[in-house]
Symmetry: C2
Subunit: 380 residues, 2 copies
Amino acid sequence: MAESSSSRVILAFRGHPFLTRQEIQDSTGLSRVTVSQVVQELIDGKVLTEADQLPSNGGRKANSLAINPNYGFIGICYFSATTMTIAVSDLSGQIKNKRREINLIEEGPNLALQNATNWLQDALKGITKSKLLGIVVGVPGPVEHQSGVVINPPIMRGWDGINIREHFFQTFKVPVFLENDVNLMVIAEHRLIYPDIDNLILVKMSTGIGSGLIIDGRLYRGSQGSAGDIGHIQLDALKGLPCRCGHHDCVESFSSGWALVEKLKGMGYKVKTVSDLVSLARKGDAEVTRLLNEAASYIGHAIADSVNLFNPSKVIIQGRISEASDRVLATIKEVVYQRASALASKNLEIVGSKLDEDRGINGAAQLGIEEFFFLNRGNA
Amino acid sequence: MAESSSSRVILAFRGHPFLTRQEIQDSTGLSRVTVSQVVQELIDGKVLTEADQLPSNGGRKANSLAINPNYGFIGICYFSATTMTIAVSDLSGQIKNKRREINLIEEGPNLALQNATNWLQDALKGITKSKLLGIVVGVPGPVEHQSGVVINPPIMRGWDGINIREHFFQTFKVPVFLENDVNLMVIAEHRLIYPDIDNLILVKMSTGIGSGLIIDGRLYRGSQGSAGDIGHIQLDALKGLPCRCGHHDCVESFSSGWALVEKLKGMGYKVKTVSDLVSLARKGDAEVTRLLNEAASYIGHAIADSVNLFNPSKVIIQGRISEASDRVLATIKEVVYQRASALASKNLEIVGSKLDEDRGINGAAQLGIEEFFFLNRGNA
DNA sequence: AATCTTATGTAAATTCCTTTACAAAAGGTT
DNA sequence: AACCTTTTGTAAAGGAATTTACATAAGATT
């Protein structure tokens, strides 16, 4: 109940990095007088900064305002299957002090978490302790969002039930947010590339297969936090292929990196990792290309199902498998447009990702900024 | 901008039919003084009524307040494949003046809409014109929610592009809401039976197959209004069965009423309608029972996919096919629990519907009350 | 009966925001 | 240079909701 009008002004900046005083009036509904006063207070309090002047519309130039990027910072720790990335984001989403190290997630949490906190402390040197607003941790597995615990992760061996939130909280004493990696990626795509698309799906085809959902402009996690689990949809009447999830004939057992590597091994190829596979594809190996095309067709079936159920206006395809060959995206498009219902595919666009490999970190930054700055700022 | 505090008080009654002044304070955040004053004004204006006194908690009894059911009314017109139901709802959701007539939707809109407006005018006799807040129309096909138009309906022959909203608006000059029948059903289930479940799916297995989605407590329509189209998910590597949607091997072509009737015809049975099929099932015809079980298994696959993608905490199965035999629900449960991922099925409940055949009308009433009374009340 | 407890009513002072009105800054147009 | 337009600042008056304080209603507890 502290100061409702100043928090309304701050909230107006969510999704809008730059606003003039007039735009703040329009979006908050506050009067010109109040906006004028509150903005001045927030500038004095270093929460907002006066940014560039905008070109004139026939009269006085408007002054563009922005959240002061240095008002506070978000600590980020992002685990992929094979690496750990530590970084810090300011309130504009700018990433600094990024450090990426090899870390095999399947080697368990002990050393990984130890290193994570140490390196994050390094990355935070020079930042006043009170300016650390919170920490976002991204992991390649299902998380229970409420409790901050990893649950039944298929590839994070040894992490089941580990309370990652608690670990970071012990050291830093700030709010900690644990989130699935694909969810962070779809947040990045939505906030940075497609902020005006209300319903979109991001499908990641890499070692495993997963998807993240933006519904009505917000991340949708589902009741247990497992929404978007497209990888373990089962395709029917097929070969009885065992999947690492315990079922069989999951999409993952046909279209994922690990499944394709296994298949190539069985065919006598000397491949060990997804990277080996990608190299072969880039060299134009005919058999590998054929396999990728087949994989695209299978995941296309699952995406078509997803499109029928969700009716999104955009599907983003991402991941090392989808980027190994141009045919993958093309084949997915063909299959989805052929199989999804006419209505659902009418205004549907299927595209590749426009972000670089830092998309997970960018998503973590966006999530952190929104959660800690826009929603949870007590009465700072 | 009229009177924010009185509309905040009214809004508090959304989803809470009875509230005491204290509870209104808690949910609106308004002060005791303001609530006291505003409630008195609203009682004087006949918007609220003093309901029963509640049992004492050790002191003075609380006075329960409620929206005055007779403050306004919602007109309802609900089309199924074979009937049209006209009714009126008060603001408590109580249905009155219900009239159900045979109407084959495939005979087109002309006579149907003519009758609908006439009968609705009859049903509204005795209600002051200014008390009609709006009209909700339910139809068994996809609708463009924004414009109030039916689009590409598979079973509503002749209705494509018909602006139903405009037709009713011409006669009644009040806001008109067009909504898909399954969406109305899932609204009814959520608001009346499971108000505290945030994510749920209702699957209707009747002549056709469809589903409606409640996400984060609200109806989810998707970008084109076609979300929940579970009936035209394609099952793979199967028999190349043509579906009435133009594709082949859709769930509908295996598990729907019309598909089963066709199949029985092909087997020499003398069945013409889904009702004939249901009669046979109730008589315990072994072959029909076997077919129903098979149908349940197929739709179970699609529901499992849906569960993986949405991670709801409840799935409601409804419709004449699912109610034709107890085995249908049982088989669906088996298939879904076996196929859906462990995490998504962990806290999942699959249940039959607890509402009667008026569920669509009840949903229309709920939708109308929320849209017209809680959201769109200019400054009445 | 006397005394809690809970639920509500009302008057006075205060805070916050709005409306209204007057100004000024800073550019474009003629 | 004179006059637009757009954007922002500020002071004064008014309204709406809050806090504070006092009061009452009505049942439970002892």
